[in-house]
């Protein structure tokens, strides 16, 4: 074993390095390389393709939800403006059928 180091020691310990290399040494490198290259050449499985699309799908769903939210918000705002005039409030609060002229006057100008 080499001399004890300090945290400021920037030199690798060759003895410890050799020991670690021996302890973690892989076997049959050629077979492993062949296996990886073969896997890279293999066409992607359908599930892999779907997995590749999943991020795009999630992003598209988020955008669609945002647009839907904006559209619903606009409609709600339009409905609010339709009931914000005094005439409209009177129609909603009244118990009798509204007069046609009053009803037409309550529509907002478009």
């Amino acid at each position: 074993m080499s001399d004890p180091s300090t945290p400021f020691d920037s030199r690798p310990d060759p003895v410890l390095g050799a020991a670690l290399r021996a302890a973690l040494a892989p076997r049959n490198s050629a077979a492993f390389v062949g296996r990886v290259v073969a896997a890279a050449d293999r066409p992607a499985a359908p599930l892999d393709v779907l997995a590749g699309w999943s991020r795009l799908g999630i992003a598209a769903a988020v955008l669609a939800a945002l647009f839907a939210g904006v559209a619903v918000g606009r409609d709600a705002a339009s409905a609010d403006s339709a009931t914000s005039s005094p005439d409209a409030a009177a129609i909603i609060a009244g118990t009798e059928a509204p007069d046609a002229i009053t009803l037409l006057a309550s529509f907002p100008d478009r």
Partner: protein, 175 residues
């Protein structure tokens, strides 16, 4: 450059890249996972992920640290997913018994002790010492691979060495 050729779709270049970094990637993955088969699966995942991500690789920077970051992440992901299994601490041949020369038996015992000592370290510490003392990466490169400050890498290597040296005081370098 191999990475550029592989990025352009040259499968031969990709094969050469795999051949060049295979042993290193498998050792680093094994430092995380301990089990050699799991480590090979993680290393393969890493090479395939690297092939897909080659577009993101900055050719002005060294390829090794970029790849080792992918390897370390692949091994860590696999370790999180799998059911906890105890690693084999001794070589199959040693466990199998039978007559062996004393030197080989002693070496097998020492390697088993080293793997056991390594397994006792926290994962980041284990990776730091393996990348520094075994693979020869600089502290700054390891900081980039592991996503931690350089000072932390130095500290992790220091503590890992102290632990391993304590347990392997009778280690003798084998030819």
């Amino acid at each position: 450059m191999l990475a550029a050729r592989a990025r352009a779709g040259d499968r031969t270049a990709f094969g050469e890249l795999v051949a060049r970094y295979a042993d290193q990637a498998r050792r680093v993955a094994r430092a995380v996972l301990q089990d050699p088969d799991d480590a090979d699966d993680a290393a393969q995942d890493a090479f395939l992920a690297a092939l897909v991500k080659l577009e993101q690789y900055d050719a002005a920077r060294p390829f090794g640290p970029w790849l080792m970051r992918i390897v370390a992440n692949a091994a860590t992901d696999r370790r999180r997913r799998r059911t906890v299994r105890r690693a084999e601490l001794l070589d199959d041949g040693f466990i199998g018994g039978g007559p062996q020369p004393d030197a080989m038996a002693e070496r097998a015992v020492l390697l088993g002790r080293l793997r056991k000592a390594l397994a006792e370290l926290p994962e980041r510490r284990r990776l730091a010492v393996v990348l520094f003392d075994m693979e020869g990466y600089a502290h700054a490169e390891i900081a980039e691979i592991l996503g931690m400050p350089e000072g932390t890498v130095r500290s992790e290597v220091f503590h890992a060495r102290r632990h391993l040296r304590t347990l392997l005081a009778d280690w003798r370098e084998q030819p």
